[in-house]
Amino acid sequence: MVIKERILSLGLVAFMVAAMLYGLWRVKNGARAPAIRKIPALEALSEMIGRATEMGRPVHFTAGTGRLVDQNAPIMLASLDVLGKSAELCARYGSRLLVTASDPVYHAMCVDAVKTSFASSGDAEGFRSEDVRFLSDTQFAYAAGAIGLIEREKVAANVVVGSYGAEGLLLAEAGANAGAVQLAGTINMNILPFFVVACDYTLLGEEIYAAGAYLSGDGPRVSMLAAQDYAKVAVILAIVLGVVTFSVGSRAITNILDTFGK
């Protein structure tokens, strides 16, 4: 029935579901949502778009070449929150927002996110469907199209948050060449160092998943972030316990991990 090697993983997921529902229940019963530390990259978003508005140049958003039907789905969905906030700020400031997508399903969701944000900011007519573009589902064809757009339109703010392969640095450097202030974020460890050196602000791994709650300030969503922290504490405890027991010659933890957590 249950695959033995995945019992630990299943246990961690069950623990997270319980922690999330508990956090949600607390907030709904009047408890205050936990405080979140400042994330400089997300704090800078408003300033970046404000600068682009003052310069009279557009803002560009890309989530890279990840797909919504593979393991990149969570990061692609999380990037939509950053897009939604960017669109809201663009609508409020009267700035033009260009969005390029590589996944057709994601493109449809981008259209909805931008349209909804413009409407909720009271500028439904400011939404231009031709500014949310599907370029190509091929990695370098997409990169070539996005680079061309960034250079031609001389974007002043480049938001690069999502799932990237080699095209990540191409997009970031195109933004730098255009003189854009750049906010980048990904969970791909091969690309993250490039973003750190090439961009002004970087979201590291899990910060992207926290972006939605952080930017919305929505109590229930913020409370659910605590569940992530509980899970992290559990993993850290397991690591510390494993190191200590292994150091004193016991293989108990490694045996448990080998049997139930491969």
């Binding site: 249950v2 579901v17 999330m20 969701m109 064809a141 070539a144 050196v197 998943y209 992530q228 899970a231």
Partner: protein, 201 residues
């Protein structure tokens, strides 16, 4: 209506997720079927997106905007590959010729830009104006010298320091980010499955 969407999302997520944890034929078959639906939906979305692309570039050509020749080239490629792939097949010589001699070399050319971009990104970040930049410069110098024979000739300790940087601080930092990202990903998936995220699409 929202409850219906949430219920569908929850059922689909549970089925696909359970397929990773249990060995039950019904669940495996249902999950495989749902994954196929995902592929079919993607194909429809691709058709719609291509239509949007076609309309945008057709408009540019008709308005004779400054970039209209590029739009014409794009439309030619789009029509050619779609037509050739549909009517003469993706293994036919006509299709393969353009794929190998046009699409692949252009892709490789874009990929090769990376080398120049790595240099320009490194040049900017190696400008020592902050202690972080100095750390990156020193670390990169050790890693680069440690990866080539001349590093050992300069000083025997360079490959050892380079290896230590990669094995200890680099691995520790990467694992921290990977564990955080993995947990964040699971949490994001759970929030979506439970209908606690905003519905889009």
């Amino acid at each position: 209506m929202r409850q219906v969407y949430v219920a569908i999302t929850l059922i689909v997520t549970l089925l696909v997720a359970f397929d990773g944890y249990v060995r039950v034929d019904v669940v495996t078959k249902a999950a495989a079927e749902l994954k196929n639906w995902g592929i079919i939906l993607s194909a429809f979305a691709l058709g719609l997106a291509a239509l949007g692309l076609f309309t945008l570039h057709l408009g540019r050509i008709s308005r004779r905007t400054p970039e209209w020749p590029y739009s014409a080239a794009l439309l030619f490629g789009l029509v050619w590959f779609a037509g050739a792939g549909t009517f003469i097949g993706t293994t036919s010589p006509g299709y393969v010729f353009y794929y190998r001699n046009l699409l692949q070399p252009i892709g490789n050319a874009v990929f090769s830009l990376l080398m120049f971009y790595i240099v320009t990104a490194a040049f900017r970040s190696f400008t020592i104006n902050k202690w972080q930049s100095a750390t990156i410069l020193i670390t990169a110098a050790f890693i680069m010298l440690g990866s080539v024979p001349v590093g050992e000739v300069i000083w025997k300790g360079i490959p050892e320091i380079s290896g230590w940087i990669l094995r200890v601080p680099n691995t520790a930092g990467q694992r921290g980010i990977i564990i955080g990202s993995a947990i964040g990903g699971v949490a994001a998936a759970l929030r979506t499955a439970l209908g606690l995220e905003r519905m889009r699409g």
